[in-house]
């Protein structure tokens, strides 16, 4: 009676669906990296087509220019390394927070306040304190500033259950406004609206050159932080607590873990490392402070942290890739008189393919007619 309509559609519909998606069990490591490499190669092919369609230029030349931009000279290599470790450092800062499923998108602000603290020390104490004491003070104040910025949202979350995503995001704007104020306060020469290079003659509070390399200290510091964070997350009791809280708060309570305390403690660490990034950015590379000191890296680092699945060692590769793309894009923009958007399209396509390849690693597709007898 009622299923008459069904009978009609039944005839029409007797066909297997064209494409079905099923989750894979697991995949050998070699094969999954193979898929990722294929994704990169495919993205380069697609980019080549896009480049040719838009600019009528030889894609290989463009790729050559990208490589040139990142690794073309010793100076360029060191700038790429400097920016890579700067991005990596923020990624390291975000790792414990994200592993705890605490959405800290306030790294930008935490880096800025760390930078402000460093710049203030350089300006007010640079010619007063001896160098070792000055560095100690800069490290401590930048860590404290970043930690403060990180811990406020954590305290609110653990006490009143506020949403940390909005809270950390808002804290960025507060940090940016404070930075603008400080820039106005410290501007040099007056009226320029820039702080300018701090202590260009005495270089008080600047990172010393190591092995004749200006940025060697940055690299050593950040790699040490990355290794330290790797061990902290993997082998310590704190790291274990972070993993449990991140997986399930009720499991954490069941285990007797004070969830609020872990939130606060972890955000103190996350914020402090972000603050330290501000210190490295000001004292170790730009020697000045502006609202662009963090330069959006606080947000880019979120991508780094996620793509690396919070593994700080994998983050090294991801940071390098992102910075390479950024430098390469800038280079082709200037060398071929393209505007920024064209080079950003290329970066976007490559990232899309890399992230998209994860789908093929986690899922398999079954086409119509490929019904197989599973033994």
């Amino acid at each position: 009676m009622q299923y008459e309509a069904g009978k009609i559609s039944a005839k029409k519909k007797h066909r297997e669906p064209l494409l079905r998606i099923a989750k894979r069990d697991s995949m050998p490591l070699l094969l999954s990296w193979g898929i990722r490499i294929i994704a990169v190669l495919l993205s380069l092919v697609v980019c080549a087509v896009v480049i040719y369609a838009i600019t009528r230029m030889n894609p290989l030349k463009v790729y050559g220019a990208m490589f040139e931009g990142a690794f073309g000279s010793e100076r360029k290599i060191w700038i790429t390394i400097r920016d890579t470790v700067s991005l990596l450092c923020i990624g390291v800062a975000l790792a414990p927070a994200f592993k705890m499923r605490f959405w800290n998108i306030g790294a930008e602000g935490q880096v800025l306040v760390g930078g402000i603290a460093t710049a203030a020390c350089m300006i007010y104490l640079g010619d007063v304190l001896p160098t070792p004491a000055l560095f100690l003070v800069m490290i401590i104040t930048s860590c404290l500033a970043g930690a403060l910025w990180g811990v406020i949202p954590a305290v609110f979350k653990s006490r009143w259950g506020t949403n940390e995503t909005l809270f950390t995001l808002m804290m960025n704007y507060v940090a940016i406004q404070i930075t603008s104020y400080c820039v106005a306060l410290w501007e040099n020469p007056p009226g320029s609206n820039y702080v300018g290079i701090i202590h260009p003659q005495t270089k008080a509070g600047w990172f010393p050159s190591l092995f004749g390399q200006q940025y060697m200290l940055n690299v050593i510091l950040v790699l040490a932080l990355a290794v330290g964070m790797f061990i902290y997350l993997r082998s310590t009791k704190h790291g274990y607590e972070i993993s449990v809280v991140g997986q399930s708060e009720s499991t954490a309570r069941y285990a007797g873990i004070n969830v609020g305390k872990v939130f606060v403690r972890t955000m103190l660490i996350s914020g402090a490392v972000a603050g330290l990034t501000g210190f490295i950015a000001v004292s170790g590379s730009s020697h000045t402070i502006s609202v662009n000191t963090a330069g959006g890296r606080g947000f880019t680092a979120i991508i780094v942290a996620w793509m690396a699945k919070f593994n700080t060692m994998t983050m090294i590769i991801i940071s390098l890739l992102l910075i390479f793309l950024e430098k390469g894009a800038n280079e082709i923009a200037s060398q071929f008189n393209l505007n920024d958007f064209a080079s950003q399209i290329i970066t976007g396509i490559i990232l899309f393919f890399i992230i998209g390849s994860e789908f093929f690693i986690n899922y398999q597709m079954i086409w119509r007619g490929k019904n197989k007898e599973v033994a």
Binding site: Q2, Y3, A10, A22, D25, K237, S243, R253, Y254
Partner: protein
Amino acid sequence: MEQQTAIRMQNITKAFGQVLANHNVSIDIRKGEILSLLGENGSGKTTLMNMLSGIYYPDAGKIFVNGEAASIRSPGDAFAYGIGMIHQHFKLIDVFSAVENVVLGLRGKDANLKLAAKKVCEICETYGFEIDPGQKVYNMSVSQKQTLEIIKVLYRGADILILDEPTAVLTPQETERLFHVIRNMKKAGKAIVIITHKLHEVLSISDRVTILRRGEYVGTIETKDATVQSLTEMMVGKKITLNIERPQVANPQKRIEVKNLTVMRQDGVRLLDNVSFTANSGEILGIAGISGCGQKELLESIAGLQKVSDDASILYCAPQTDASIELVGKNPKAIRDLGITLSFVPEDRLGMGLVGSMGMTDNMMLKNYRRGHTPFMERKEPKELAEKIKEELEVVTPGINIPVRRLSGGNVQKVLVGREIAAAPTVLMTAYAVRGLDIHTSYTIYRLLNEQKRAGVAVIYVGEDLDVLLELCDRILVLCAGHVNGIVDGRATTKEEVGMLMTHLQKEDGRNAV
């Protein structure tokens, strides 16, 4: 042929990754007949039926509806073929009324509320349901919600009804009423499939039984030729004894004394109301009740995970010293720091008892990872414990570092119970310890609980299967809407008495405490 075949599934195969959920399964579903689909958990019953209701699509094999080849790609297709499935977890909108839920997703004339209400009443009359079309779902009992789900399917014109473990959440009385309705639907010529692993239900309601084991088709027999023993053997694949041991209680001593325990939800609803009881060493105290009657809150209160009322008292009486320690106001860590080992197997195994993304080793340390004076983890002992549990409880896992969420339900539970028992507890609380486990694993769990009882542990067993509660427990506390509605002797009581206590709240003075 006297009976027409409604559905024929031929050589159906479905795999999830490496796991074969169904392999080459063929079954017939006939009109005017009740077919039981019997099998242990993980034997592929639900997966097979989900391919009829359009949730999964088979990897191989054919489905015929009324003799014609059919391709069911979505629940919408399934309805077009007249197939309706009542899932274990209800899919209803709480704030809607019964009739609003019935028409949800329909268009045109079918969605007219007045006409629908009338038709719902007609359906009720035909098959013997009782439901008020205007009642809101949040005011309904579990059995009413189930009735509504069945009506919803009938309203859409289903002739083939699939019920997934329909009695799991019902009391004995409600089960009887459901069976009455199912028999009426059979008389009306509908084809009915009941997915179950309860043997006595199979025997009392179905005409034929199809048995699956580990995704494979074992066979189909007429119910009149079947016995509990023969069905079990087909289901498990070997002879097993179906008796649960119940050693006599030796030297019981008061271990936990709960007084005036009240737990309020944030909106002021009393989840537990003035609960008082004692749990003794060397005894299994069963806790019966319809699901959501405060069982979870009761165990969590003892474990230090619930906020309880100010006048509540939970006393722990230490075995040797006879000292009484108040547990109210202490969190799990504080309780452990006092040297009290309360083991707790919570209902939500992966969401509370274990960390799904971690392997066995890391899960072993969950409660004692603080051991040692360095800031670093000590993984040697937990690793040995994991190896030991894997071997002794026959946990099937590719390795002790494989995330436990990738293990099957039974193995997850073995890991959890193994850890909690390894802690050498004085009190062992379990919530739905055998839910979703196959017979073999269930009996392993009963054996472990009895071992703990013999060792003088106070065991608290929250269960849902009354047959098991009556066979395993020394005393049974029955909860009804957050009240202690009676504490009965497990050896003397009957299923009907417990079922009655579960559903009918008695006056305070009507308690028959033992």
